[in-house]
Each structure stands twice: as structure tokens, then as C-alpha cells.
Amino acid sequence: MTNTNHRWIVRAIPYLWMLVLFFIPFIIVFKISLSSPEIAQPPYSPTFDPFVDGWSETFARFAEFTSANYLRLFVDSIYVSSYLSSIWIAGSSTVMMLFIAYPLAYGMARAPKSWRPTLVMMVILPFWTSFLIRVYAWISILSEEGLLNSMLLSLGIIDEPLVILSTNAAVYIGILYSYLPFMVLPLYSALEKMDESLIEAAKDLGCTNIQAFWKVTFPLSLPGVIAGCFLVFIPAVGEFVIPDLLGGSDTVMIGKTMWEEFFNNRDWPAASAVAIALLIVLMIPIMIFQNNQAKQQDMG
């Protein structure tokens, strides 16, 4: 359009905000990940303050940077197993989620039209209530003297209470429960958009119901499947609250390890290195996700 107005201000303000409060912090995290832990305030070295120490002194301190924190990530088995088990837990719960969410999303998309907004609202509603509350709700259900066990015991199905809380099983349940809307909504929007006459056409051309699903419905819902999987997988890898509250001491996930490194051990450089490594692990799925979103937007 024309250059006579000051449109650039509209983008400069949020741009600047995100640069200062999102982009630069990552550079700082990276810097600190190369530092050594100290018992001081701040608890790492080197620190830079060219206005106090002068520039040459500041540059000289660059030599103090160390890759020790990164080397530890590979050597110390707690880190390696944290990464592996995070990816394993997040990945397998994403797959399980797909099996739970798909029928639900399908049922919503094929429900009578007047019902659909209500159903969508019903999926979103728990999402509006606190994440913490939803995780917390499971503690009283899954604990040894909790509702599930007392119900199963009184029905005579089991004789001994099941140990679910403080195990990985509880972590899976927590992830499945908390992230369900993230999977259902993209699936629903992909399925709902789909023209029902496509399935009629497939059937008209000789497909059975099941064939029509696998040959028409499912391939067309793939963008929703991809978006949903990444929306669940990426945050689940770095999840802290669920493994912390529902998992046991043997549940190691990277978000929890980082939190403990930071708050319990006060080892900021190690926590930073864990964060940077996690970011690198997640970089590829994040980029795939953004690509998928951009493509969707171009089409829609």
C-alpha cells in the first residue's frame, strides 16, 4: 500500500518485545550454559560487566568459557536417561493419545450440526480450567487409598490396592488426560472441514465403510493428525508438573531434571546446558510443526 503512514510501528513494538523477552534470553541461556557454577550471586562465572571491568578484561574472560556442562550431558547417565525416557514417554503417549482422540474427534465431526459447537466447547472447557487442578485431580483418584483402588477393592476385583501413583503409569495417564484437547481440536477441525460427499463418492465407487475411512477420511485428516501429534509431543517432552506430581522418584524426565538442577542443586550452568540441549532436540519437531501450520494457513 502506501508509505505515508507509520504502519511499521505496529510491528516494531511486538517485534522488539519478543526480541528482548524471548530471543535475547536464549542467547543468555546459551552463554550461561558455557559458564562454570559458583557459590556466589549470581551463581556462575564468568560474569561480564565491561563498564566496571573495562573491555579488555571483559574479552579476556571469554577464555573462561567451558564446554564441561555439555560433556556432562553425555557422560552423566542421569541426563542421557532423562532425555531418552522423556522422548519415549512423550512419544508413546502421543501415539496412545491418537487412538483415544481420533474416535472422539470423529464422533464430534459427524455429530448433528447443531450439536457441534457445544461439543467443541465441552472439549475446550477443561482446557480453560487450571492444568495444575487437572493433574491434581488424579492424585486422589490414583493414590493407594484413592478412589480407584477403593472402588476396585469394594467390587472385589482386586485384593491388594494397585500401586499406580508415583509410577510411570500415572505419568502416562496424566499426559493423556491433560493434553487430550490439543489432539482432539486439530483432528476435529480437519475432519469437520471435510466434505461428506467425498465419502459418499467413495462409497458410490465401491468402497466399504472401512475402506472409505482408510482411503479418504484418514489421508485427508493427516494435517490435523500431524498438528495434533506435535502439539502433544513437543510440550510433553519438556513436561515438569506431571512427572513431578504423578511420577515417582524413578520417573526421570528432562523437565524435572532441569528443575531439580536449578532449584535444588542451584547449578544454573548445568540447567542452562540441559535447556539448550532440549531445545536442540525439539528444534526439528518445532520446525516441522511450524511448516505444517504455515502450509495449512496458505491453503485455508
Partner: protein
């Protein structure tokens, strides 16, 4: 298709039971007279009474509301600007980085966002507390605002804005007279989203807080770590109730608007 098929009815029922049962149980047991989470000891509202006499909880709730209100309001303005930039400014310099920064926080694990913001605040030597939480919350919620508003702007016929310009309206006034009234529902719902996200946040608040600023999720978290308390059930039930009522009222209002609009459209068709 007019009715639910059996398969759909079953999957919907099972899915929604999974979603709602835990919350319903939580609410039910907030009225439990006994301390146990599994044994029903009769109806009581004593835990609600004890919430209102717990000054720490009330303080935390008040701080949380203030943080959420402030951060949601600023995030709505910034996020709307970001959405305008993404949807209306074409290819500007640095657009890729900008859209990357807007989308990344949506999926970024909170521990990373929290840690990075904390280290920023430490390295520029700001006193951490209420305001650093607000800044952090603005940063991550504005991205959600931007995405919601942008998707509304993309589905919006641009020629309506062009028509206003064509009729002599300045670009600045066009935004306030045409664009904003039309995207207002999306802006309001993105404010609500930002508000609840902020209300809800534990991890980022924990990293960016300082002495004296404990939010409700932080308080709940530290209490829960010490064991389940019926008092917390009561707090949680109240939060659920507030959110549910708000969302239902909002959706009834939009639904009524839609119904009125549909009726008007039918009227127009019969008369023309």
C-alpha cells in the same frame, strides 16, 4: 446426517467421561466432611469456610488475579499488533524470525521459557517479584493472542478495509472503525485465553518470581507436594466454577447473537 450413530455415541460418551469424571470427583470431594480422599464422610462446606480464613491462600489468589488481569490486557494489545503485522504487512524485513518468535512459545516447554526469562532478569539485575511475573506472562500469552486474532484476520475480507480507505478513511481510523469492531469477538476471547493461561501458570511463575510474590498455582503446588488437602479441593472447585460459568455465559451470548442474525437473514430473504 441427523442423529448420532452408535459408534459415535459411544466414543463421545467415553471421551467426555474421561475428560470430566476427574474434575467432577474433585468437586464432589470438596464437599466431603471427612479428611480422606476416598471415604465419603457426609456433606460439608467446612473446607470452603477454611479457604476464606486462610490469609495466605487469599493473598496468593489476589496476586494471581492482578497478574492475570494486567498481563492479559497488555498481551491482548501486543498480540493484536503482532497478528496485524503477520496478517496484513506482507513480506517485511525479518518476518521469518518474527513469525518464528510468535509461534515457538506455543509449543516451547515452559521450563525453558521460564529459565530463559529468569536468566534475563538476573543478568539485567532487576528485582524479581510481581512485575517480572507480569512481564513473563505477557510474553508467553501474547503469542496465543496473536494466533487467535491472526486466524480471524486471515478469514476477513480485506476489501472491507480497502473500501473504508477508498471512501476517505485514514488507515489509522480504518482500524478503529472497521477492523477492530469486526475482530472484537476474537480479541475478547483471546483476552480470556490469555487471562486463564496466566491464572493457570505454575512453571514460568516459579522461575520468574521473587520474594513476596506467590501466585495461587505456586501455593497450591507447594501444598499438594505435602499431600492432598480437602482445602485445596475447595479452592480448585471454586476456580473451576468461575471459569465454567464465564465460558458458558460467553458462549450463550455469542449463540444468541447468531440466532438473531439467522432470523434476520431469513426475514430478508422472504421480503426481497
Amino acid at each position: 446426517m441427523k442423529r448420532f450413530s452408535t459408534f459415535n455415541a459411544v466414543s463421545l460418551t467415553a471421551g467426555f467421561a474421561f475428560l470430566y469424571l476427574p474434575i467432577l470427583l474433585l468437586i464432589l470431594y470438596s464437599f466431603n466432611a471427612g479428611r480422606s480422599v476416598a471415604v465419603w464422610g457426609g456433606w460439608s462446606t467446612k473446607w470452603y469456610a477454611s479457604v476464606f480464613s486462610n490469609q495466605q491462600l487469599l493473598d496468593a489468589a489476589w496476586i494471581t488475579l492482578k497478574v492475570a488481569f494486567l498481563s492479559a490486557s497488555v498481551a491482548t494489545i501486543l498480540g493484536t499488533m503482532a497478528a496485524l503485522a503477520l496478517a496484513r504487512h506482507g513480506r517485511f524485513a525479518g518476518r521469518t524470525l518474527f513469525s518464528g518468535m510468535v509461534y515457538a512459545p506455543l509449543v516451547m516447554p515452559e521450563v525453558i521459557t521460564g529459565l530463559s526469562l529468569l536468566l534475563l532478569f538476573v543478568s539485567i539485575n532487576v528485582d524479581r517479584g510481581f512485575w517480572t511475573i507480569v512481564l513473563a506472562h505477557i510474553t508467553f500469552t501474547m503469542c496465543f493472542v496473536a494466533v487467535v486474532v491472526q486466524s480471524r484476520l486471515v478469514s476477513f475480507d480485506r476489501s472491507i478495509e480497502e473500501a473504508a480507505l477508498d471512501l476517505g478513511c485514514t488507515p489509522f481510523m480504518t482500524f478503529f472503525r472497521i477492523t477492530l469492531p469486526l475482530i472484537l469477538p476474537a480479541v475478547i476471547s483471546s483476552w480470556m485465553l490469555a487471562f486463564t493461561l496466566s491464572l493457570d501458570d505454575l512453571v514460568i511463575s516459579s522461575f520468574t518470581t521473587g520474594p513476596g510474590a506467590t501466585t495461587l498455582p505456586m501455593k497450591i503446588y507447594s501444598d499438594v507436594r505435602l499431600g492432598v488437602k480437602p482445602e485445596i479441593n475447595a479452592v480448585c472447585s471454586m476456580m473451576v466454577a468461575v471459569v465454567t460459568v464465564t465460558v458458558i455465559i460467553a458462549s450463550i451470548m455469542t449463540k444468541r447473537q447468531e440466532v438473531e442474525r439467522e432470523r434476520a437473514e431469513r426475514l430478508a430473504q422472504t421480503k426481497s
